[in-house]
């Protein structure tokens, strides 16, 4: 019915793309569960192509300065902040 079996290496690859570390048990459980779910998704193949013209309009506003959060408010929930900046890990 489907070739959507998921090996643990694929789960590890997707977890890497999504930036989510997994422990071994979780990765193993996901491999089985993903096979079930992806197998279920397979029959989307049977859905006909549909012409649709969504009624979309652009909603624009002028780009002007307005009241916003203060620096203190914006930083209040940061685990680490220094001198008015967010503090993050080293880049690259």
């Amino acid at each position: 019915m489907s070739d959507a079996s998921v090996d643990p290496a694929t789960v590890a690859h997707v977890a890497d793309l999504a930036r989510v570390d997994l422990d071994e048990d979780e990765a193993e459980a996901f491999a089985t569960q993903f096979a079930d779910v992806l197998d279920y998704f397979e029959t989307l193949d049977e859905v006909p192509e549909v012409d649709s013209e969504p009624e979309l309009v652009n909603v624009l506003r002028t780009d002007e300065a307005r009241e916003s959060l203060s620096q203190d408010e914006a930083l209040r929930n940061a685990p680490e902040a220094e001198d008015g900046y967010f503090e993050g890990p080293p880049v690259g």
């Binding site: 999504a18 930036r19 570390d21 997994l22 989307l44 649709s52 680490e80 993050g88 890990p89 080293p90």
Partner: protein, 421 residues
């Protein structure tokens, strides 16, 4: 002590209006300035929003007092409220059973009388499901009727904030307060301005054509279907005309819903990096290492599962196979609903295909858990309004009936639901 709330509070109103003196419970993914908003997640256990959601501003201006932030499936991802980091909420009707989800705390608070009214959010049934399981009323508004500004996003093309209440009229009154355009949410529409939904709850079903969604009745547990069919037949005796309606697209709705919701979740939840808010991943290694550790620590299993499956569905080589086909399905469902409303004023089905499961019963198998959403997700995919109203009981457990209307046809579904009370 009730397990419906994550945080008890007392946020006073700053105005007078139609909700004077009403005690309102608010789902914990709706931002409340100065009161923590956790989304049922360890990631946001300490997060205190610096601003109010638009719906909170409107509640406060209408005289309501917010009495607490309610428990929910983590980030709205679940149908039973069991995926909350803060533990499950029990169903006030039967404490061995789940209250439904993901707005389970909001429904339980109303059912137990701990709040007069509540706000939930509905991405794939998350207001209607717990309303049905707890024996209260819940409304999922037309997409664009209610502002999502300040709602922590899960799948933003699908979700709306909606009211829960003991009666249809009270739910409609709360919807009147929160509906309406908002310049801070560009998807809101002018149809929501100056609404009068409450007066539609007049119980008058005479002359209404009700299309019964036979695919969704046939797929339901026979005890649920029996209650639904008996009550709908009563409406025929009172002057409604019944028509059977089959929609072939509905067989694919759950698939399309989960592909789209997971894909949007994988993108929306990318903001949780442990730097601006949430649990820090520390400073060892590079940005990606820290990011991945923060998310391992902060997200529960169901959230990881959906973020990963969404990432997979959008990844190179799979995008056309899953995401594009899901969008085709969404368009097909919309077209079939449009055609159905040529024949009927409102459509009806059981809200949930099953009775409320026991705690723990539906956790083993994620796919079986997802299938419980069969009757509620089509409405989100089609952007339509729907209501769940108590229809009776089976084996002592609540059964909900769902009415679906055309876009911005809130008055039609409110009127039909009020006829069942």
């Amino acid at each position: 002590m009730s397990d419906a709330f994550i945080t008890r509070t007392e946020i006073e109103s700053d105005g007078d209006g139609s909700l004077d003196g009403q005690r309102i419970a608010v789902k914990d993914n709706i931002s409340t300035e100065g009161t923590r908003t956790t989304c049922g997640s360890a990631m946001l256990a300490e997060y205190v929003p610096p601003y109010d959601a638009t719906v909170i501003e409107r509640l406060k201006a209408s005289g309501a007092t917010i009495v607490g932030k309610t428990n929910m499936d983590e980030f709205g991802m679940g149908t039973t409220t069991e995926s909350s980091h803060f533990g499950p909420t029990t169903n006030p009707v039967d404490e061995e059973r789940v209250p439904g989800g993901s707005s389970g705390g909001s429904a339980a608070a109303v059912a137990a009388g701990e709040a007069d009214l509540a706000l939930g959010t509905d991405t794939g049934g998350s207001v209607r499901c717990p309303a049905a399981f707890c024996g209260v009323v819940g409304i999922k508004p037309t997409y664009g009727l209610v502002s999502r500004y300040g709602l922590v996003a899960y799948a933003n093309s699908l979700e709306q904030v909606g009211p829960l209440a003991p009666t249809v009229e009270k739910a409609a009154e709360l919807l009147d307060v929160i509906a309406g355009p908002d310049e801070r949410d560009a998807t809101t529409r002018s149809e929501g301005a100056d609404t009068d939904y409450a007066s539609a709850a007049d119980g008058d079903i005479d002359g209404t054509t009700i299309g019964v969604l036979t695919d969704l009745v046939d797929g339901a547990d026979e005890r649920v279907a029996a209650v639904f069919e008996e009550r709908i037949a009563e409406l025929e005796d009172r002057g409604a005309e019944l028509r059977e309606i089959e929609l072939d697209s509905l067989a694919h709705a759950v698939r399309a819903y989960y592909v789209i919701a997971m894909s949007e979740a994988s993108s929306n939840l990318a903001r949780f990096d442990g730097v601006r808010y949430g649990i820090s991943g520390g400073f060892d290694g590079d940005w990606n290492d820290a990011f991945a550790r923060a998310r391992e620590a902060g997200f529960g299993s169901e959230v990881k599962r959906r973020v990963l499956l969404g990432t997979y569905a959008l990844s190179a080589g799979y995008h056309d196979k899953y995401y594009e086909k899901a969008q085709d399905t969404r368009a097909w469902i919309k077209q079939e609903f449009d055609a159905a409303f040529e024949e009927a004023d409102v459509l009806a089905s059981p809200t949930m295909p099953v009775l409320p499961p026991k705690l723990g019963e539906s956790l083993e198998d994620p796919l079986q858990h997802y299938l419980m959403d069969a009757n509620t997700v089509p409405v989100n995919l089609a952007d339509l309004p729907a209501i769940s109203v108590p229809a009776g009981t089976a084996d002592g457990l609540p059964v909900g009936a769902q009415f679906v209307g055309p876009a911005f046809g809130e008055r039609a579904v409110i009127r039909a639901a009020s006829a069942l009370e």
